[in-house]
Symmetry: C2
Subunit: 306 residues, 2 copies
Amino acid sequence: MQGLARQNGPVPTTALIVLNQPSADAPPHSPGAPAFAGHDPASPLLSALDLGATRGDGIFETISVGNGRPQALEHHLRRFASSAAALELPAPDADAWRSAILAAIDSLDPAEESSVKTVLTRGIEGDGRPTGWVFATHSPDFSHVRTEGIRVVTLDRGYRHDVEQTSPWLLAGAKTLSYAVNRSVVREANRRGADEVIFVSSDGFVLEGPSSSVVFRVGDRLVTPGTGLGILDGTTQASIFRYAEGIGLETGFQLLTPDELRLADAVWLVSSVRLAAPVRELDGEPLAIDHDLTAGINRHLRALTE
Amino acid sequence: MQGLARQNGPVPTTALIVLNQPSADAPPHSPGAPAFAGHDPASPLLSALDLGATRGDGIFETISVGNGRPQALEHHLRRFASSAAALELPAPDADAWRSAILAAIDSLDPAEESSVKTVLTRGIEGDGRPTGWVFATHSPDFSHVRTEGIRVVTLDRGYRHDVEQTSPWLLAGAKTLSYAVNRSVVREANRRGADEVIFVSSDGFVLEGPSSSVVFRVGDRLVTPGTGLGILDGTTQASIFRYAEGIGLETGFQLLTPDELRLADAVWLVSSVRLAAPVRELDGEPLAIDHDLTAGINRHLRALTE
């Protein structure tokens, strides 16, 4: 048996690049070999002993690519490094990752919207060399959700809003491979007739989506719950705030409850690949969609280059 | 590049078996092929797109093997099925897994103590076929910790003790591959000069270790915090309770605080492979080791067969 890679069916337009030395603080996999190499996405890559696979012990980033240009690349690389530090992984070598990302994009057929995922795991237990790869793929068509919006339910994340300060060992705010809960909550949303989730802290504050940030508008202010709440430092949220400031909106941070969020003039879940998805229903109650601002934000995000 | 399996260094005595059809509810990987096949542990097995590796989206069990006999095998298989249900994974085919486990043990060199890990992932996104494998290996020598004991710190798990009832989407009590936090807390323990961790709920109750159950003795009662607390149904704890009842101890369940735990006559962290590790220090305070009972429990666990 050759392993469990995809063995049949249509092969999507993808590219896989494997790093020889994902961190300068750990030895390379093949001394003297090139910094990275292509790998057939249909062939097995990982050992059954890789701690990424057996313990979700690693980190990732997903970067949007518009017409061949990675967006917010440096912000993603900073967050990748910050997640590595939280997990005490060897620091990713930013130059090696940047080159591998650009190589993965280059080996994709051109497309209007693609994405690149970077993954760094602790590697095989006891081996001391982390595993790193970059996977690039064309994006699905999100135009429908970007205009028509999504139905969202709020779900308890179980943690208090201050858990990042009180209990840093829980890794809240790091983008780890341990995402079983982030997927489980979407199934719970589907059971409730919704598409997506906004996490709420156990003490009642709005946090983030399982793979997105929450942004809302109140009058001419664009607001997000902020940092230090055990949530990710949103790369797309940051890009949107720069756009908003450019068109004369104020931006800010605010700790708030779901009841307060329902009073906002408009709410979005924003993320690298889907971009700004307007929330049209929150816990079964309709919310108004700000079509003009949504279109402006998404036009801006798709035109971004860095 | 042939992928990132272990490429050099001494190969431990291990065996890897891959299941062709881990669940009867999903198609096989190779129609008509045998139920399972050996795979070189040094060769890559997993796709970089396997959701086990990219999202920690899967489950596992670790089963002790004494002189070739898997211990508490049926209890482990029941818990494996229960974890699969919590994650809405296709139900593992117990017969297929049992056969693969026995085959993995058979292909190991004989040893006094070994262990078998079973892993079931959701497979490649969109593929619809879960990935399943069994990895068997000789166990390290745990005789020192079984007699001399371990130093333990209590750490906040962030969740209330009733989270399994209030928020089942958090998967508390399922043995998932998303174990980054379970590894992070051991690093925090090491920073504090300890070896191991006992998780405490955010509302102050003793829960479990990151890969073990808590058992303690008060007089002639052997006690564990119990079920329904978002913790695992301990297979080793259950075996120990049967032994304890056989030698005339009472057994029971009790919700308690770390302060109450410190008043116990003896405390253990118990797990499938390390077995009963007596706690000799809790948050920096010495605890007495019950050497006779510890030795009796570990003799019993090592002699178990099913």
